[in-house]
Amino acid sequence: MPKVYIPALLRNVTDGRAEIEVEGATVRQIIANLVTKYPGLQDRLLDNGRLRPNISIAIDNEITPLGLMEAVSPSSEVHFITAIRGG
């Protein structure tokens, strides 16, 4: 089952849990299953069904440009991190 790492900023809506194993073959499915258990994640991660623009998704330590549509394998690590730009 994919393992989702919850950043410190979101742990107040996941009962303090930092790592959660969640079913799902895509990021969208994983977030949907997470939200079922932790409803507070809904507004923190999504805006009108789309990933909030200040959040990037890293799957297996690589930021994905596909966001919610990215495929996730059963052994994957999923991270929600701050979107980075640059100079």
């Binding site: 790492y5 950043p7 410190a8 900023l9 979101l10 107040n12 809506v13 923190r44 623009p53 200040n54 890293a58 330590n61 690589e62 930021i63 994905t64 440009p65 690590e77 991270h79 929600f80 991190i81 701050t82 979107a83 980075i84 730009r85 640059g86 100079g87």
Partner: protein
């Protein structure tokens, strides 16, 4: 290290735009002319914080030669809460628009208030002086620690603090407080034999690009807006202008002119929507050039910061815990680069226990923008100073201490993910084995310092088109502003695939109507991402050329092999140029297409070794020797990589020793000219030596990482460490200019006398 052999990559061809640049024929925004063009001037606030009670433009509008005046009232009414992407992340439209023309308040001296279009720039400036603005002057706040106090003047009455991810009801200058946690930092400190904790301050500094901002806009009769400007991202200007003016993006076309430097500061829009509004009112093109004073006062410098860093280690040098408190000045609107500072502050180290708190704080200074590895140099100044002090206390070589704790593939970053293949260890090894580090440094008041730093680099979308010409050359069409030689570094990647010379590729940077979406030239992404688009476009050309030659030879395209620009099948052989001459008879034009939104971004580590001599009578620091070391992944054009390393190092030296926004108590920048804002020149510096490390990025076809930013992260700390070793006391505030050094020396003498 890279062992791959290439024909074009790794060579040093002359840049394609070189002749135009050195002969003065390159067209910059200030050169741009149109028939019937008007000239604009922007009236700016003399106050750092004031409420605008009334603006009377009647005298200016009546002035001879004036064609139009605009204020914020000329913007169409829209939902100010709508979020818009300005190239460096989203922000509320009200803030984006408010920074272009102030609404009910001015938030920094230089804040744009109104604008005039007239028959020439002198008339426009004089008429702007006739605009009467009634201000209610408010108290200002200029630093993050002051702005965070409960009784500080509030900049935005609608700004509610986001505390650890949740929006609170508290109206505050603190836009956001975030946190990263790994392990148990208190337990880590308890296990340490040695602890070092220091506070640090850094001043606001500007990117200092030579070319001021400029723009020309034409709001045409058909409702479309055309803009010619100096920008790091033409599509960002298009999208930002369209959002601010509530237009569809298809109604805005942006042509990027040549650019005289940006370093992150030419990503936001400042004058483009204003010029467009003036053009709409007059029906004529309007050109606005920004004076240097306004560049300093009203564009986006990098944040000043207050930081505390604490690190503990065992006697053998193993770091047991690290903690950081980072409070960054966002300037007038939220968005200080404290997020990336928090993600990079301990990035060079493999740590089990980490606690990082970051604060994004608005103050009455211009809204900050990106500047090379935004946020990371501030943070590295603090961390690398503490690590140096730790090495002193432990009696360890400072590079050995860093190597013992260095981040590597699999190290978990403080913000969560693990590092992929990175070159931190290789950079430190190259520093340790360098002739510079092995050489002795003798003499009084001299010191050597080292430091290391990291920047993520980014991906984002890029597009590229290749058109094969009958003479065997290839026209390359791209949308990335060329700031540091990227026409050539992109063309070289196409040439490598096609088996051609760099000179056979003719790159052109085009407007937003003429190429697919391409994100900013920033984040060290252009050689990585647009280069990848060129790689894909070249692969597309090769595929089509195989089909063409297969028709000539009457063979299956699958049997055709291409290598080094020669196509072969069943004993036949034909070079690219010979084949290009026959594309007309084999089906017409060959056009290759590449469009990417790549993953596989490779971060870059860089380090600095610096020798300084401090004059104990004047406090002047002389850089005796400076070596920059950086992991490029793959150096497509080594001379341009070296140029980036030298440029970033020099900007870091200026940041360390001289540069600052010297502010009066009422928020006035007292040194808003290049005469008084002291940037280093060639006369101030030795040759910056470079060592390119190549740990290929497995995520890119050629192993590219991107080299535009990591090189500015470590110089400030390396110089601070060198000065510490030269004078025997540590400076924790940037800039470390002669007055600061003299004060440190006097303090040290005073303490010595007392003891």
């Amino acid at each position: 290290m890279s062992t791959q052999s290439y024909s074009v990559i790794g060579t040093r061809p002359i840049r394609h735009d070189g002749a135009d640049k050195v002969t003065g024929r390159a067209i910059y925004g200030a050169d741009f002319q149109m028939a019937g063009m008007l000239h604009g001037f922007i009236l700016r606030s003399p106050h750092s914080h004031a409420r605008i009670k009334q603006i009377d433009t009647s005298k200016a509008e009546a002035f001879l030669g004036v064609k139009a005046v605009v204020t914020t009232k000329d913007f169409p009414e829209v939902d100010g809460g709508k979020m818009v992407d300005l190239g460096e992340g989203d922000m509320p439209l009200a803030y984006a628009r408010g920074n272009v023309l102030a609404g009910d308040k001015v938030l920094y001296r230089g804040h744009a208030v109104a604008a005039v279009a007239a028959v020439n720039a002198h008339v426009a400036e004089e008429a702007a002086g006739l605009i009467e603005v009634e201000y209610e002057v408010l108290p200002c706040v200029l630093t993050a620690p002051e702005a965070m106090t409960p009784d500080a003047p509030i900049l935005h009455e609608d700004l509610k603090m986001k505390e650890l991810g949740e929006v609170t009801d508290k109206v505050s200058n603190i836009a956001e407080h975030f946190r990263h946690v790994i392990g148990d930092v208190e337990a880590g400190f308890a296990a340490a034999d040695v602890l070092v904790e220091r506070e640090f301050n850094t001043a606001t500094v500007h990117q200092g690009y030579i070319e001021p901002h400029n723009t020309t806009a034409l709001w045409n009769n058909d409702g479309r807006i055309s803009i010619w400007c100096s920008t790091q991202g033409s599509f960002v200007v298009r999208d930002s202008t369209a959002a601010i003016l509530d237009m569809p993006v298809s109604q805005v076309k942006v042509t990027p002119m040549e650019i005289g430097g940006g370093f992150g500061g030419k990503i936001p829009v400042y004058m483009e929507p204003v010029a467009a509004l003036l053009s709409k009112k007059t029906g004529r093109p309007v050109k606005i050039l920004m004076p240097r004073q306004a560049v300093f006062e009203a564009t986006g410098p990098t944040p000043g910061s207050y930081m505390k860093v604490k690190i503990g280690a065992k006697k053998d040098g193993t770091i047991t815990a690290a903690q950081a408190y980072l409070a960054f000045e966002a300037g007038a609107y939220p968005g200080a680069m404290v997020g990336p500072a928090g993600m990079t502050v301990f990035a060079a180290y493999d740590l089990a226990n980490v606690l990082i708190d970051g604060y994004d704080v608005v103050v009455n200074k211009p809204s900050t923008a990106a500047y090379r590895a935004p946020g990371a140099p501030n943070a590295a100044f603090a961390t690398e100073s503490v690590v140096d002090e730790l090495a002193l206390k432990l009696g360890m070589d400072p590079i050995e201490l860093r190597l013992k704790n260095a981040a590597k593939e699999g190290t978990r970053r403080a913000d969560g993910p693990k590092f992929p293949r990175i070159g931190c260890v290789e950079v430190l090894e190259a520093m340790k084995n360098s002739e510079h580090y092995k050489s002795p440094l003798a003499g009084a008041h001299r010191g050597r310092g080292v430091a290391v730093g990291f920047w993520f680099n980014i991906g984002l979308p890029s597009s590229c088109t290749l058109n094969v010409s009958a003479d065997g050359s290839v026209n390359l069409i791209e949308g990335s502003t060329d700031i540091g030689g990227t026409r050539t570094s992109i063309a070289m990647q196409a040439a490598e695939v096609l088996g051609l010379k760099s000179e056979d590729i003719h790159p052109t940077v085009v407007d937003t109507d003429s190429i697919g979406f391409t994100a900013v030239t920033g984040g060290s992404r252009t050689t990585f991402a647009t280069g990848w688009a060129a790689y894909e476009a070249a692969q597309d050309v090769v595929r089509q050329m195989k089909e063409r030659v297969a028709k000539i030879w009457e063979v299956s395209p699958d049997t055709v092999e291409a290598a080094d620009g020669v196509y072969k099948s069943n004993g036949y052989s034909m070079g690219f140029k010979e084949l290009a001459a026959r594309i007309g008879e084999t089906g017409g034009p060959v056009v290759g297409r590449g469009a990417v939104n790549p993953r596989g971004v490779g971060g870059s580590f860089a380090g600095a070794i610096v020798d300084v001599e401090v004059d104990p009578e004047t406090g002047k620091t002389t850089i005796l020797r400076f070596t920059a070391v950086q992991d490029a992944g793959c150096a497509i054009h080594p001379a341009y990589v070296e140029g980036q390393m030298q440029g970033g190092s020099v900007q870091g030296i200026g940041w360390a020793l001289n540069e600052e926004y010297f502010m009066s108590g009422d928020g006035r920048m007292m040194n808003s000219s290049f005469l008084d804002y002291r940037m280093p020149t060639a006369l101030d510096l030795p040759m910056i030596e470079t060592i390119i490390v190549e740990v290929p990025n497995p995520g890119h076809p050629f192993g590219v990482r991107g080299v535009g930013e990591a090189n500015i992260v470590s110089p400030q700390a390396a110089i601070a460490n060198a000065i510490t070793h030269a004078i025997g006391t540590r400076l924790t505030r940037l800039p470390m200019n002669p007055p600061a050094i003299m004060e440190a020396i006097w303090c040290q003498r005073s303490t010595s006398r007392r003891s």
